[in-house]
Symmetry: C4
Subunit: 262 residues, 4 copies
């Protein structure tokens, strides 16, 4: 990793090293990729007004998230299928974020089980991402499993109401390799196929599901994918513990606004 000094450098190097299928899977956004592109470009439109002659000899990025300390206001998003890129998969990401004191958010579509990740990064703060299962007793079982594994919050993905059309993938459809299994989308350590895990998702879930989650889970609930003030207000009214502004990296609904606005 010599000569890699910023995020862009790492992204370019990764795109160079990954195989075609994995690259297309990780890189692609939905449709015209307007949202994907603007997610990055939006940051270039934000200017900061620096104040001078403040004492900056000691700089401290620590803050609190859900009432508890983090050394840095940075976490790993619940990105799926990390074993496509490296055999360590999500365990590697968890160890990295543990090192700098941020938060690991494990994807429902992770390729390492929540128990493996907990063992790999025992001192990291860890949140568990999930989708609503058509069978809610399974979702309830998933909560128990996550809590038992030491995950301190659950994160419901709401910004994937439909799966985006990613053109690179539509042009070159692929099957995930057979060693890619999803061990977290169930209450036990059963390894689901990718297609089974997708088929189980309840695309009809509404705000009623949020009320149900609050009634059955003791863990704090974060909604990932809120993009409007109206939805944020609704979430707060229902007792949601955290709102995560996200457009799913521009991968599901194109033409959604960037997550920062200048």
């Amino acid at each position: 990793m010599e000569g890699l000094v910023c995020v862009d450098d790492f992204e370019k190097e990764a795109l160079r090293k990954l195989g075609n299928v994995t690259r297309a899977y990780y890189r692609s956004g939905a449709d015209d990729e307007f949202t994907l592109k603007d997610n990055g470009a939006a940051f270039s439109r934000i200017l900061l007004r620096p104040f001078m002659l403040r004492d900056v000899s000691n700089r401290d990025l620590s803050t609190t998230v859900l009432g508890k300390k983090v050394a840095v206001p940075i976490g790993i998003s619940p990105t799926a299928m990390q074993r496509l890129a490296h055999p360590d998969g999500e365990c590697g990401s968890a160890k990295a974020i543990e090192t700098i004191g941020g938060i690991m958010v494990l994807s429902y579509f992770a390729t390492c089980s929540c128990e493996e990740v907990a063992a790999a990064a025992p001192n990291a703060r860890k949140w568990f991402n999930f989708y609503m299962h058509k069978d809610r007793t399974i979702t309830q079982g998933v909560f128990k499993r996550a809590e038992k594994a030491g995950f301190e919050a659950v994160v419901l993905t709401v910004d994937a109401p439909v799966i985006g059309k990613r053109r690179d993938i539509e042009r070159n459809p692929f099957d995930f390799p057979p060693h890619i299994k999803l061990p977290n989308a169930c209450p036990d350590e059963e390894e689901l196929s990718v297609s089974k895990a997708h088929d189980d998702i309840d695309h009809g879930a509404t705000w009623e599901a949020v009320s149900w989650i609050k009634s059955v889970s003791r863990l704090p609930l974060v909604l990932k994918g809120i993009q409007t003030a109206e939805d944020a207000i609704h979430a707060v009214e229902l007792g949601v513990d955290g709102i995560w502004i996200s457009n799913h990296g521009g991968r599901q609904i194109d033409t959604a606004p960037a997550t920062v606005i200048s």
Copy 2:
């Protein structure tokens, strides 16, 4: 059509396959093509604010147009000379739109007759596009023919007051091939030459023509090419049944605004 997954892909493939003359005829906009370019670019400036946690397990694009149901809010614009591209001509387009439940709008300059199109796509909703003929008894005859063929509305083109200068074509002028005849610009199935059909158009038609159409035709009247609020209000006052915002694809009057505005 393998590997073609979006409209842009189809456009690129078509431009690759078409002969030079047909490509220039279909692709070109007027003058500097500012309007042509912005018709597409304007869409990239429109962002949508997605609401989450709504039940989207069943998605329905159907709506009503002129009081009747369409499965999709999509139609075929009255684009001319489709047999330049394929022997099926407008019959092929009509069958395609019939399949997805949209509306076929047959151009006055179509190369298939309205009777052929009606036979090819009997279950499609079909509208008949026309220009004012210098001899209004002919226009009146055209209405009767369209109605008899099962067309449910007439669509007057108003966004071609003059014919745009398309530079690719001015640089390489061409004659339409002899097999290209226009069978719809007359009350019977006479096949007019392209130049005859053009010469017959009354470029002096004003809003008075709209009143006259409403007085002689029982079919709903749509004005294609309204681009200002002033004209839209005028149209409504005269009893027009539908306003179609259009700049003729940027082909006639350059520097007109795009048809969507962000």
Copy 3:
């Protein structure tokens, strides 16, 4: 001129045909050429709102300028040194504008005399451009000569208070070829060298000069190069007959606004 169908085509062809020195002299703007570039680009930002269903069967571009008819609202700007490009020089331009019924404005730095231009285009409307001479009796003599030659108005250039630095020319300085003489910057047909004509200009002229011109010349006076409302008001108060919004084609003062604003 086959295949040249728009102004851009003619400009490209001219730049291709001209020698290096002439091309640099004609093409260059001052400094960074911000104004030069925006003079063209500004037009691409102007949209028109077309009204439909008006009778456009007969279109008439004629209007009046300084109280007299022109067939088109177009004229030839007082561009210098036209014999650099073609032996016909300004006589050729005058014949062209005569053909379409516009106005010929002859540059003070023209290479054809006003008498030659008058003979070449007897039926064209003709205006005479000038700069203030350090010796005002000479300027007064120029007015008489212009009037005698049939020029109907005088046009004072005010947008060249200093001569712009044009980088292509500063990098490759040149002398005008010896056949280039300026026959209009004097009351008789004496042929001045380019440098003599430049040296004679009074760069200290102020609004007082305008009052003086109005007191000694019977011809209508147009100020070419007004760029602010303040100057326009001043001009009207002093009895100026026409205001010509111009930034000298971006050749003298860079960072001046384009002559049209959207």
Copy 4:
């Protein structure tokens, strides 16, 4: 320097001639270089409204700065390490600015001593740039030395609270060559190494330092690097003699606004 007619030409030629290390050191801005790029681009967005018919036969750029005359409103910024580019170092720059009657601002990280610069350009106006030393008796000694050498004001850099990450340099780290010494960051003519001079800087200095400077130095004090109205007001309240709007050339804090705003 034939053919170099504008600042851009000189910059390009310099980048061509300099060695890799010096080029990277001089050219680089912090992080994504948003501020670096916009510092230049911002000027292209500023238009001027030229007034005409004013007497511009004699043009005078002179003005006063800190109550004294300058022939041009231009100075040399306190840019470091000029002997990396040329053996004359800051003495050469001082002689150049002396020639046109502007102000030489000598960097705390200059490679020529203030005494050498004073001898090289005795008639130039000269200001002395400094950073707060952790040992304030040293800073006080520096003031005395600068005053004795004929420098008329001191300029505190406040826009480098942290040192920016410049990617070209992070990718190819380098040591300054051994002949590069810093003779100005101390009260006597001791030659410090670059790293020693950097280590001595007090990054904890606050507005209290400004009050202290005003209490110990008779020379006017300029703050270089104020970027907000709030800080400017604070500076005036503390009796600062000049505010220098600067973002350190985009080299320290990226995403700061450009120093001019249109």
